[in-house]
């Protein structure tokens, strides 16, 4: 063995090329990657996340391995944001390489790189928006009533004296159910009435939006306004309740049912724990629904505009910006809006709680970034947990499990209480036996076979048997008998094992009506153990009645009977005394399964991160734009020099290098933004995208001077305004605005007001939630938000990775070969 030393000059290049693989995964309009593996049993796999991609790529180069490990570790910690990390690492590597080529000492590059990214993070953190505390505290007091009244979709003038009781709300719902397709009632009196007034902010923004997004005549504002709202029909709903989307849809759209329970907004609290299964749907309703669906689709085609939604760019118009909007923003003033809110009465606690869900769904909407189905599921889980735990920290979702089903449409995924596991179809009889009665459960961490040994067990003590004389001895009980005795004695009716179960044991269990579930994930076992009070044991034969836990019910989810080469299997729901939740994730092909599960967890993590931090970042590329702006404005970099010893000449000359490094850094953020823009498919070329970005940056810089211009851009690229818009969306109070963005009040107001229609839009979607296709769902997330920590940490990790590579000059390979020229 000897060490071979070779120079690493291309570490940065490796980083760039590996990272470039992940570039197409950025943004909601990303493309999946198909990893073809003929040798593996799984076959080809579709991946959409950076950790999956990198672990499937066989990277020999040590730098690639470092990137992979950084990515995996980020993913483990935050659950999301690893794509940002990988791509940023690539772009930062490019920036660093550029600086090195310019002859800047690498220590200075490292230092400025770190300094620049830190400065960006600080700047971006300032733009963070505080997530409404209601979510976290969930107090019964009436907090921020103004906010709630404004965002409640059903809040109308009629409700002035209402206390939010059920009767009032159901009256509204009846109103709604009278006319399924007519949505005009939505805008009355809140939205439609002010339509005639040019001073009304809602209208104003709306008009601008439409104008900017329409390509033809400005005369048709009214028409397009209507169209826009109609289009919003098909946008996804935020489900502020845990009920299945199917049921909500049917309940809302059909008069026959609606009078009793269509008022789901008001009823949320009572319904919290009800989980409707899709299988229970009457066919009649479904037929009716299909008709509705068709009509909606038709309408939808007519009104579709050339818009696309990107995680980073918000609403992006296909065509460049329009001339100035006809309406003057200067007309706006904040009094209008605030007076309006004061008119609203205080709502009851009932609606208050409802609002929590609504806010949560809205948050999730913003965080969905295109994965609407998964996000809705994640959101439901969160609502459940929040509801159950009444003030417990929302960050805890270790009671959630996922169960994967392939061959079923993606949209059939749902969330249910209990734990859903796959069982073999042979267990059907045992499950049906006393279907809903409590059972005793035994949880085994390992195989249930005779020769199974725990990990760490090496070699059995070998004893050779000797029989002395003819004396007969009592043969010990066979293993199977002991197992049988345990099952009998403990009255076990449900047996879960992490590994496989012996066929004989299966038969024994079958004869005793004991349901056996094998190959369950350890995390599921642990959740079940915590929820049922069972102990996880390793060997079944020495378990006692103390180890047994109790489950409340076993239920077959009959919808999903799966055929596989192992035989048919079904989904079984285990009801537990403690709170547990399961997400049944469906998708059409097996290759997608992993992707869907990943997306679900990513959504859950995003929500958790946002709630745990209590703040979110405005999305739509806004953080990157902030960074580019502050990096270009290097004069503002007054961060004290640190890290370099004052005795070194570098501390003196760093100020010479800083502008160069910073501009390269800005370039890497631009590259990031551009690749997202290009991924969105809206731009014919990178140059086109860059032109858009530059004009946006200019607009942002001179926001006061070119207010109209910004406003004009606001629709085409919802970035500049997005910051304020989103913040207004959450805080809803221009005076207590938490974002010290330089943009002026007018813009804030404008954006704030623009959110007024959002609830309408959102609730409107409840009427026809089934119609949404993914792309349409994306449109609805008008206020993209990002989880703050995750994004910034990804940047910092990327920067530290690039620094690591930058600081490395030599690769030492230990091996038997002697073919390198420098050998120690």
């Amino acid at each position: 063995m000897m060490a071979t030393i070779s120079e690493i000059s291309n570490g940065l290049d490796v980083l760039m090329s590996v990272a470039s693989c992940a570039q197409s995964l950025l943004g909601p309009q990303r493309t999946l990657k198909c990893i073809v593996d003929d040798s593996g049993p799984e076959g080809s796999v579709l991946v959409s996340t950076a950790p999956d991609l990198l672990s499937n790529l066989n990277i020999d180069h040590p730098v690639g391995q470092l990137l992979n490990s950084a990515c995996q570790s980020h993913h483990r910690t935050y659950g999301t944001g690893s794509k940002t990390l990988v791509c940023m690492a690539g772009f930062l590597a490019r920036a660093a390489r550029h600086c090195i080529h310019l002859g800047i000492p690498f220590s200075a590059v490292c230092h400025c790189l770190e300094e620049g990214v830190r400065m960006c993070c600080e700047e971006v953190e300032k733009t963070a928006i505080i997530v409404d505390k209601v979510l976290c505290e969930k107090s019964t007091e009436i907090v921020r009533t103004d906010y709630h009244t404004k965002t409640i979709p059903f809040a109308s003038v009629q409700q002035t004296d209402s206390t939010g009781t059920l009767t009032t709300v159901s009256r509204q719902c009846e109103n709604e159910s009278d006319d399924v397709d007519d949505i005009s009632w939505y805008f009355e009196p809140q939205t439609i009435a002010p339509f005639s007034s040019a001073r009304n902010p809602t209208l104003h923004v709306q008009a601008i939006n439409v104008d900017a997004s329409r390509t033809e005549d400005t005369d048709s504002i009214q028409k397009s306004f209507q169209q826009k709202f109609q289009e919003s029909d098909v946008l996804p709903t935020d489900d502020d309740e845990e009920e299945d989307e199917f049921s909500a849809c049917f309940e809302e759209t059909f008069p026959s049912k609606s009078s009793s329970n269509a008022c789901h907004h008001g009823e949320t609290l009572q319904n919290k724990s009800v989980v409707t299964q899709p299988s229970k749907k009457p066919d009649m309703t479904r037929e009716g629904f299909e008709q509705l669906l068709k009509s909606k689709l038709k309408e939808n085609d007519k009104n579709r505009k050339l818009q696309i939604r990107s995680r980073h760019l918000g609403l992006v118009d296909f065509l460049p910006s329009e001339p100035n909007p006809p309406l003057q923003l200067q007309d706006l003033d904040s009094h209008n809006a605030s007076e309006k809110t004061e008119d609203y009465p205080k709502q009851s606690n009932l609606l208050q709680a409802n609002e929590t869900s609504l806010t949560l769904s809205r948050l999730s909407q913003g965080l969905s970034h295109g994965n609407c189905v998964e996000m809705q599921l994640a959101c439901k889980v969160f609502q459940q947990i929040l509801h159950e735990r009444q003030g417990a920290s929302p960050g805890d979702f270790d009671i959630t499990n996922t169960c994967l089903v392939s061959g079923v449409d993606h949209k059939q995924s749902y969330v249910t209480d209990g734990i859903v596991v796959k069982v073999g179809s042979g267990q059907l009889a045992s499950i049906l036996q006393g279907k809903n009665k409590p059972r005793k459960v035994l949880i085994i961490n390992g195989d249930i076979t005779e020769n199974f040994h725990h990990t760490g067990y090496k070699k059995a003590l070998e004893v050779s048997s000797i029989q002395y004389g003819a004396r007969s001895y009592k043969a010990p009980k066979s293993w199977l008998e002991r197992v049988q005795k345990v099952i009998l004695d403990c009255d076990v009716e449900l047996l879960l094992a992490k590994g496989i179960v012996d066929q004989d044991v299966m038969e024994v269990c079958l004869s005793m009506n004991c349901v056996v579930v094998q190959q369950v994930k350890y995390s599921t076992l642990q959740t079940l153990a915590d929820a049922t009070g069972a102990f996880i044991i390793t060997y079944i034969h020495n378990s006692t009645s103390l180890d047994v836990g109790a489950v409340t019910s076993l239920e077959l989810l009959e919808d999903h009977t799966l055929q596989s080469y192992k035989g048919a299997s079904m989904l079984m729901k285990i009801g537990t005394p403690g709170q547990t939740w399961s997400a049944v994730l469906c998708c059409l092909t097996k290759a997608e399964l992993h992707h869907v599960e990943q997306q679900f967890w990513i959504c859950l993590h995003r929500l958790k991160n946002a709630l745990a931090e209590g703040k979110v970042l405005p999305g739509g590329g806004s953080p990157e734009l902030t960074c580019i702006r502050c990096l270009r404005d290097t004069s503002g970099a007054h961060h004290s020099l640190s890290g370099i010893h004052p005795g070194s000449w570098l501390s003196l000359s760093i100020k010479e290098f800083r502008p160069v490094v910073f501009s390269s850094l800005a370039e890497s953020f631009e590259q990031y933004l551009l690749s997202v823009m290009v991924n969105s498919g809206r731009f014919s070329s990178p140059h086109h995208a860059r032109a858009e970005m530059e004009s946006l940056l200019k607009g942002q810089e001179g926001s006061k001077a070119s207010l109209e211009r910004v406003a004009c851009h606001k629709q085409t690229l919802t970035t500049a305004a997005n910051a304020d818009k989103v913040s207004a969306y959450w805080t809803d109070q221009p005076t207590t605005h938490t974002t010290p963005v330089k943009q002026d009040d007018k813009l804030c107001l404008e954006s704030k007001v623009s959110t007024q229609f959002l609830p309408v839009e959102y609730s409107q979607q409840n009427a026809d939630r089934q119609e949404k296709s993914i792309s349409e769902m994306q449109k609805s997330s008008d206020c993209e938000v990002l989880d703050c920590m995750c994004k910034l940490e990804a940047w910092k990790s990327a920067a530290s990775l690039v620094q690591l590579v930058l600081r490395t000059d030599t690769e030492i390979i230990n091996g038997p070969k002697e073919d390198f020229h420098k050998v120690l």
Binding site: P476, I537, G647, E811, N814, V823
Partner: protein
């Protein structure tokens, strides 16, 4: 290797082939020069990292520390092997200073081999040079040495910061550096036993690495913390370790500590043929025996069973039913910490009776969740053991951080024994080089008489020695700056590469590399560049110049002792920025480097035996 493979008959011993290789063989010189370049590029706060991995893939180690570097690198060249093993024995003893020793050593070998002087004579002169240096360094009046006030947190911090700051793989900025230095110092102070009976142990500070969060999240906790995936909060809630009342009424949890496997396999039994009645099964017998041991522990009212290896799940279950928490798979590292924490004696066999003396005590046991992982937190009210939770985003940096913190802790321990420090930043080296040149000029006659060599030989070798020292100082910087030394204090100054003058004040540099000498103190004195590969005729004039300045010591105004006094009294504003090296570490590294170089220089031939 071959013998281990079953079925392969070991090949008969090959006939010895003796390859006769002179030390000046290009293979050797090239290897030494590669090695020198390797350690040189690692050296200093802006040093470059090395990625080490196996040719067949595997984990990538990214490091700049000599310890990690030499541990993970396999070396075959005999000369380099000698250097590496010498340096490793130094780092085993002192942790720090490995790169300094290897750099100086390889510099000396490389340059001395190039000298047109017999190697024996060079080695002899080098020996004398070392003697002169040591004499000066150990002298009370040494200007670059000072006594460290261990009660002074600023200076202790400066020492820690110098150790941590010289490790580029940590990728610390100054804020992080301060945080980490403070934590290491705190951990060190906590690990000092309160009573006079206790001993200072390096293992008293445990390090737990948490990946994926920023360095700011690092913190210090009392007791021991380790990852236990299966002992969750819920589990601990259900299996509560039994508490007993210790004498004096204080509640305590008794801990039995095993460093043997309790997994129920044949490991703990003599490997022989057993015969038994047909009804006896080996597994059942071993399990029964384990249960007996467990029952004895229950009888002793033990609350926690800690085991280095695996504990049979059946035994765990039995113990859990009897109020004993089992903590298995501790690993050799944590076992030592748990032992120090609880005061238990590690039980190495299952066949001897367990006494009350073997049992340790714990104050509390709890679970902590960090980054979605479960950690068990053991605390004792009497033990100084504490755990430093190190956080970093980067796995490579994290592993390095753990080693560096251990090194810094070791350096602090040594500072307690020998509270002396030297100027860092290469100032000691340049100062020493200047002193050496002056001394050689002054004591020329006596030295010549003593060594019996020619005047030219003495001057050339001495100058070479001094230049090697200066080269080490220069290796601290990797961005192409100018290295100069001022004629008054002979400290090391780093000037910009484009500087047109050698006057530090004119280039804007404020202090010397160690931060002790300020620009205003040396006025506008022109400094002389150091470490130049000057041609062999030059050195005599150079040494004269140096000798002139060092002749009267009163000129060398700045002494580290004075500076330290000022810093403690007046709080010199740049106080925290001073770079300090631990005296015992540097001294030993210096001696090891020169002695090893001399030893290698006297080697004439290397002989390989291919067996």
């Amino acid at each position: 290797m071959c013998q281990k493979m079953s079925g392969v008959i070991p090949s008969p011993k090959q006939q010895s082939t003796v390859i006769n290789q002179s030390l000046k063989d290009p293979k050797n010189t090239q290897a030494v020069s590669t090695f020198r370049a390797l350690v040189q590029s690692c050296y200093g706060p802006t040093g470059r990292l090395k990625m080490i991995h196996n040719a067949s893939g595997g984990h990538v180690t990214s490091t700049s520390m000599s310890q990690t570097l030499f541990r993970s690198m396999s070396v075959s060249n005999p000369v380099v092997k000698l250097i590496v093993s010498a340096v490793q024995s130094h780092t085993n003893q002192f942790s720090d200073g490995g790169l300094f020793a290897s750099l100086l050593c390889s510099c000396l070998i490389e340059s001395c081999l190039a000298l047109p002087i017999p190697q024996q004579a060079v080695a002899k002169i080098n020996e004398e040079m070392l003697h002169i240096c040591l004499e000066y360094l150990q002298n009370e009046n040494c200007l670059c040495k000072a006594r460290l006030n261990v009660g002074d947190a600023t200076m202790m911090l400066a020492l820690v910061r110098s150790v941590l700051g010289s490790k580029p793989a940590l990728m610390l900025n100054s804020v992080d550096l301060n945080i980490l230095s403070r934590l290491v110092l705190q951990g060190f102070l906590k690990s000092i036993p309160d009573t006079t009976v206790g001993t200072l142990s390096l293992t008293d500070v445990e390090y737990v690495c948490i990946e994926g969060c920023s360095i700011n999240d690092s913190h210090l906790v009392d007791g021991v913390l380790f990852e236990t995936p299966k002992i969750t909060k819920q589990y601990l809630g259900r299996v509560k370790p039994r508490k007993v009342h210790f004498h004096g009424g204080t509640e305590t949890i008794k801990v039995a500590l095993f460093n043997t496997s309790l997994s129920g396999d044949s490991d703990e039994f003599i490997d022989t043929a057993y015969e038994a009645d047909a009804g006896v099964s080996g597994d059942a017998f071993v399990f029964q025996h384990l249960i007996q041991v467990a029952a004895h522990l229950v009888q002793l009212q033990v609350g926690v069973l800690a085991c280095q290896k695996v504990v049979h799940p059946g035994v765990q279950k039995y113990l859990a039913e009897n109020g004993v928490l089992t903590v298995d798979r501790l690993g050799s590292l944590h076992v030592v910490a748990v032992q120090r924490l609880t005061g238990a004696t590690a039980i190495g066999t299952l066949h001897a009776a367990i006494n009350e003396d073997n049992i340790g005590h714990l104050h509390s046991i709890s679970t902590v969740q960090i980054q979605h992982k479960n950690y068990l937190h053991l605390q004792s009210s009497t033990s100084p053991v504490n755990t430093l939770l190190l956080c970093n985003r980067n796995e490579a940096a994290l592993l390095e951080m753990k080693d560096v913190c251990r090194t810094a802790h070791h350096v602090l321990c040594q500072a307690l024994r020998t509270p002396l420090v030297l100027c860092g930043g290469g100032c000691t080296e340049t100062h020493l080089a200047a002193h050496l040149r002056a001394q050689v000029t002054m004591q020329e006659e006596t030295l010549l008489a003593k060594l019996g060599c020619s005047k030219a030989q003495l001057h050339t070798t001495a100058n070479n020695f001094a230049r090697c020292l200066e080269q080490v100082a220069m290796a601290l910087e990797h961005d192409g700056g100018c290295h100069v030394s001022d004629p008054v204090n002979h400290h090391h100054w780093l000037l910009p590469p484009w500087a047109s003058t050698t006057v530090p004040a004119e280039t804007g540099v404020e202090t010397c590399a160690c931060g002790m000498v300020k620009t205003d103190k040396i006025d506008s004195v022109s400094c002389s560049p150091i470490g130049h590969l000057s041609d062999q005729s030059q050195p005599s004039s150079g040494s004269k110049g140096h000798g002139k300045h060092c002749d009267d010591k009163s000129n060398c105004s700045a002494s580290l002792t004075d500076y330290m006094d000022q810093a403690t009294q007046k709080l010199v504003e740049s106080g925290p920025n001073v770079v300090l090296d631990s005296f015992p570490v540097k001294l030993n590294a210096f001696v090891v480097a020169v002695e090893t170089a001399n030893m290698i220089l006297t080697v004439n031939r290397t002989i390989f035996d291919k067996n």
